[in-house]
Symmetry: none
DNA sequence: GATGAATGAGGTTTCATTCAT
DNA sequence: GATGAATGAAACCTCATTCAT
């Protein structure tokens, strides 16, 4: 009566007895950790996370043998979720420029108020490695589309865009509570600086040329 | 009654001497703290600072009742020094735009490699309050000059410029060793977005309008 | 009432089958525990044992309600095995003294490299109780043979020999890798001190008389 | 009136103000640690030591940055105290053999009931290194005296004596409470085996020759 | 019976701050 | 005023044992 009503889902190959409970715990831990990390940054007490997820310390450390590992998992999950959404949004429009700006919009909106996520940009831990590569690949895709359409300023690299994203995301943190939404102005300014309307060449990476000629 | 019996206050210079010693200690502490904070960020052990300044913990805490207060003092001193230099640089040119770009250049170059300084942008401690105000005043001055000369994009506020500065300074930290100088490209892009060449209105602070029209 | 309703006990072999499985598990646990305890001493993580025996923690604890109990079982098994071999060796020679020295040789050789076995001499846990009794009985047998043949020094008790064995076994551990075989010298020295050639009386148990007169 | 009464001890060069208190704490810590380690072995909770010495955890770790360091200090102190006493005892007699036996007597009596001290023989930590060297030097001295007087069995090395000492000290632990003083019998036996009365050669280090010929 | 996830007290160590000298 | 030892609350992590499935 309880499980096998109609279209029985192909019974998982047994041995998953406790796994369900464990998976629920693991999910609870990640959930709680995500909240706590977002609220208070990477430096929180692990016990706070254990308390909020309703599990003991041992359980937490069974699933994540190290605080860093937990953090990495949480961040990766958030990165992935965000990238997935970004892909969908990008696929929903024909306009390359709209795809690019939409990406930035969404990236920043997503990171607003997530302290750990922002801190992770600075962190050099192994956590961000994988995520970084995924993000880079996607940004490169967006860039190529804009370049092909002649919309992007000459010489703008993927690294530039990655950096711009990281840069703005950290601003969000600072303005988060006091000036919500101000980052949109900065984003607009930067994007305008990225448009092919600007014809002056960018300084070579590593060069020390003067920054801008406004005449 | 105990030491100075025979009238004619014998040693006011003695107290002065003490004062000088204390002042020297204070300076040593700030000096050492500046180095340590710059090298290792805000999270260093206070004892490291005491050790490097050659004073005891008690002395340190007599001058600065809290680690945060010491940090604030250090940061403020650095802000002040930097702002002074910035003022001089700004006064040395007639061109308002050059003054503005020069400011950014110098601000960012100054912050490269100073971990505490960059972290302070995110920190909500009392440390940054004072500094923020000074910086703001100066940026506002630069902005006004540009606006008066018709060089700055319509609607750009001081807050925008402050945020841009903070934003880029954090990029410097992230790219510091691996991609030195890349921040100059980002700066150039942003400054181009700030020029009065861009005529589209910026989104209202707090609004959610679309970010950019590239047509 | 639940399983065997229709009289004629239907599946005693079934329960036997279960028993066999359990017995196999028990054997696997002991086997693995013996290896791990020998390698790493008594302080190993129980999970290491569970992992190596291929059973879950619950199974392990069903068979051995306590880590100490498992340890006791393992040690007893090893003692038994060793004692059996010792018995055979002792029965293979007519010479009582050779039987005694052979026993020591074999005891020590057997314990070289088994950390838990050596540690157990110091440990006051319930583990060593049983083993101790068996060993004692056998040593007493050897002693009696030597005494009857007039080969053993006057007054040497079984307890003395037990203690000598324990003592030397710990030496083996200490010298194990660096000076293999040095214990044989010590054994020889001790055995010579045990021979009936030495006629001075031993100090009473508990007495504080001077230890030796070498003249 | 308080300090400079008569024969003033040459005033310590100032700067020792707090040092006295700290030294008292350090002593208290070592004292407490010695007791606790002796009672319960090396594996005690550091907090127990802190509690018993009446200092906070921080104080303890200021003086001994690591539990191992504390243990090493305690052991070394005990070794030193013991060796000093042993030197004096050895100097008090003309008889080389009495000096040797006295040394063993005292060494073992001193270690009876000190769990950490005995455990340290097995431990390979850096703690015992220094102590070991001192002990070895002293034992070598005793040995030489006996050899020169023709009292010691041919071929007995310092290493043999060191090992014998360690071996017996561990026996003490095992018999400590139940059979106090039994180790004296074992010691006597071993010493008799060491006397020059025994003329059979010892097995070469590393050899596998038979252990003893009692005929 | 078997499984292995969950438990949580305890282990060592750090560090901002206070306080006796 | 200066000194630096003392403080003690956390922090991270381990592991013998229990218990739901």
């Amino acid at each position: 009566m309880t499980s096998a009503d109609q279209s029985t889902p192909p019974r998982p190959p047994a041995r998953r007895a406790r796994r369900a409970d464990a998976e629920r715990n693991r999910a609870a831990i990640i959930e709680a950790a995500a909240v706590v990390f977002a609220e208070q940054g990477c430096a929180v007490d692990v016990r706070e996370i254990a308390r909020r997820s309703g599990v003991g310390m041992g359980t937490l450390y069974r699933h994540f043998p190290t605080k860093d590992e937990l953090l990495a998992t949480v961040l990766e999950r958030e990165f992935t979720a965000w990238l997935t959404a970004a892909h969908q949004a990008a696929a929903a429009t024909e306009d390359p420029w709209e795809a690019l700006t939409g990406f930035f919009e969404q990236a920043l909106a997503h990171q607003a108020g997530n302290r750990a996520l922002v801190e992770s940009h600075t962190a050099t831990g192994a956590a961000s490695r994988v995520c970084a590569r995924h993000r880079e690949a996607f940004i490169d895709e967006l860039r190529t589309r804009c370049v092909d359409a002649g919309l992007l300023r000459e010489g703008v690299t993927t690294a530039d865009l990655v950096l711009l994203s990281a840069s703005l995301s950290q601003v969000i943190q600072a303005t988060g509570d006091s000036h919500p939404g101000q980052w949109r102005r900065l984003l607009r300014i930067s994007l305008d600086g990225l448009s092919s309307r600007n014809t002056e060449p960018l300084p070579e990476p590593g060069s020390r040329a003067e920054s801008s000629a406004n005449g």
